[in-house]
């Protein structure tokens, strides 16, 4: 941890030096005041769904995309169930004025507004889950013994890039390791890989291959179970016959 902190201060010193040298203002993005919670009851499924939709995030790995490339909103009941079965739920809240707009305010803009009377009063009231807007989220599912998987780490686009996502992942890891779970996996798309790498994740040292069930039904077969998962129509293996002769061919 100590190494991480001094690396950060080195970076900021470098930023300042290069700013004075080039006589341009390097606008370092600052994180607005946030409230991070690990209490699952602080998450309202409707707000969470709104966060996912505005971040164009889907819980389905292969989501249905509309012509504009937007995901469809997630089923609220399923979201509620998923939350209730997640052993770690982390949520990040922020005062609404910070989460709207083009992006995190940079140093210059933030310092200008510092002395406006209204702003001072506003800043005096700390942000909580009741007066803040849900801007970040992450959860983990675990067997509370050996393994855990991190899912759905999302930060609202206007506040990305200021370390909120990393805070969420670090909090999840801290919660898991405090319960003795060190085997923590995260399934990430190509875009998310850099993010998780920066959070301390890497390829499996044992060289395992991550695989997902993607067997789809090409045509509707009357007696086979098919289930929709996003844009995939997954084909379930047929129900096992008792004492089936099909086992005697010994192939798999």
């Amino acid at each position: 941890m100590a190494i991480g902190v001094s690396a950060l201060s080195l970076t900021s010193i470098y930023t300042q030096i290069s700013a004075t040298e080039s006589k341009t203002h390097i606008r370092k993005r600052v994180r607005p005041p946030i409230f991070i919670s690990t209490n699952p009851s602080h998450v309202n499924p409707c707000d969470l769904r709104a966060l996912f939709t505005s971040s164009n995030f889907s819980c389905h790995r292969f989501p249905n995309l509309d012509p504009d490339g937007r995901v469809e909103p997630i089923d609220i009941d399923k979201l509620h169930i998923a939350l209730s079965h997640s052993c770690v739920v982390v949520s990040v809240f922020c005062k609404p004025q910070f989460s709207t707009g083009d992006g995190p305010k940079d140093e210059m803009t933030s310092s200008k507004s510092r002395f406006a009377p209204g702003e001072l009063f506003e800043r005096a009231i700390p942000v909580t889950e009741s007066n803040g807007q849900l801007v970040g989220f992450g959860r983990a599912v675990s067997d509370c013994g050996l393994t855990a998987s991190i899912y759905d780490v999302v930060v609202i686009p206007s506040l990305q890039g200021v370390g909120i996502g990393r805070m969420i992942v670090q909090r999840i890891i801290r919660m898991l390791t405090s319960r003795g779970i060190f085997d923590i996996a995260a399934l990430c798309s190509a875009k998310q890989r850099l993010f998780f790498k920066a959070c301390g994740f890497g390829d499996d040292i044992l060289g395992s291959t991550s695989m997902m069930y993607t067997r789809t039904a090409s045509s509707r077969n009357g007696d086979q179970m098919v289930k929709r998962a996003g844009r995939l129509l997954l084909l379930a293996p047929s129900s096992r016959e008792p004492f089936s002769s099909s086992l005697e061919d010994g192939s798999h």
């Binding site: 996996a185 301390g200 993607t214």
Partner: protein, 242 residues
């Protein structure tokens, strides 16, 4: 589909005192409390046919099970514990051997440790293993039951395979710890384990089914419908940096 013929003969459940049909239908009672209160006895309307057929086979035992009415929240149903006889063969000496698949999660952690030793897996703390089994969404097991004519009522029951899945019960599931006793490999038993897990997960609309396969079993899972790194989705693991 399950029929009356599926049900294993009474001597399957020797060694335990509770009523036969209770045991067979609700195997969670054998779990040394591993499953705890999480497992509820539920009957869904779709499964009525199965339970009716079982009941009719055991009415003479005067078994009165308490069957709860179907749940009003279908998504809260636990996967129905079921036992299926996958293989049945008679040895030359008259011993009948059955391989029983069960999704009730009846696993003795010591038996599991012995099985892990057989396949060459490293040992893990038993308390953690027990907790992991208890909190898994589903634990599927294969047991071998050997019935001998001489040893009336004393069957040999051995754990020969297991697979488990963790899930958030809605979107995601990960399959862990798939293993089959080396002496029973190559018969399609591992395939049966994984297929039943997938089927149970999909039945609950859990669509993101993931697993992390060692290099030598990637083809095994490919044949079962798994794809490595689909659309660039890859699993990463946490490595603490000091």
């Amino acid at each position: 589909m399950l029929t009356n013929a599926v049900v294993a003969p009474p001597s399957l459940c020797s060694g335990h005192n509770s009523q036969l049909s209770n045991q067979l239908l609700f195997p969670y009672k054998l779990n040394y409390g591993l499953e705890g209160a999480r497992r509820k006895q539920k009957v869904s309307p779709l499964k009525a046919g199965f339970w009716d057929s079982i009941r009719s086979g055991f009415l003479k035992n005067n078994a009165t099970q308490v069957i709860e009415p179907p749940s009003t929240l279908p998504e809260e149903e636990e996967p129905l514990p079921q036992e299926i006889v996958l293989v049945e063969r008679t040895q030359p000496d008259g011993t009948l051997e059955q391989v029983i698949f069960s999704s009730g999660g009846d696993v003795d952690v010591y038996d599991l440790q012995a099985l892990c030793d057989k396949v060459g897996w490293p040992r893990r703390p038993l308390s953690k293993v027990a907790a992991a089994l208890k909190n898994s969404y589903m634990v599927a097991t294969l047991h071998s039951i050997r019935k001998s004519p001489e040893r009336e009522g004393n069957d040999q029951k051995e754990l020969i395979g297991m697979a488990r899945a963790t899930s958030d019960h809605a979107f995601n599931a990960t399959i862990w710890d798939v293993l089959v006793d080396p002496g029973y490999q190559g018969q399609g038993l591992g395939k049966a384990l994984v297929e039943q897990l997938i089927r149970a997960l999909l039945q609950r609309d859990i669509g993101n089914i993931t697993l992390f396969a060692d290099s030598q079993v990637v083809d095994f899972y490919r044949n079962l419908g798994f794809e490595p790194d689909p659309e660039g989705i890859k699993g990463m693991f946490w490595y603490p940096r000091y």
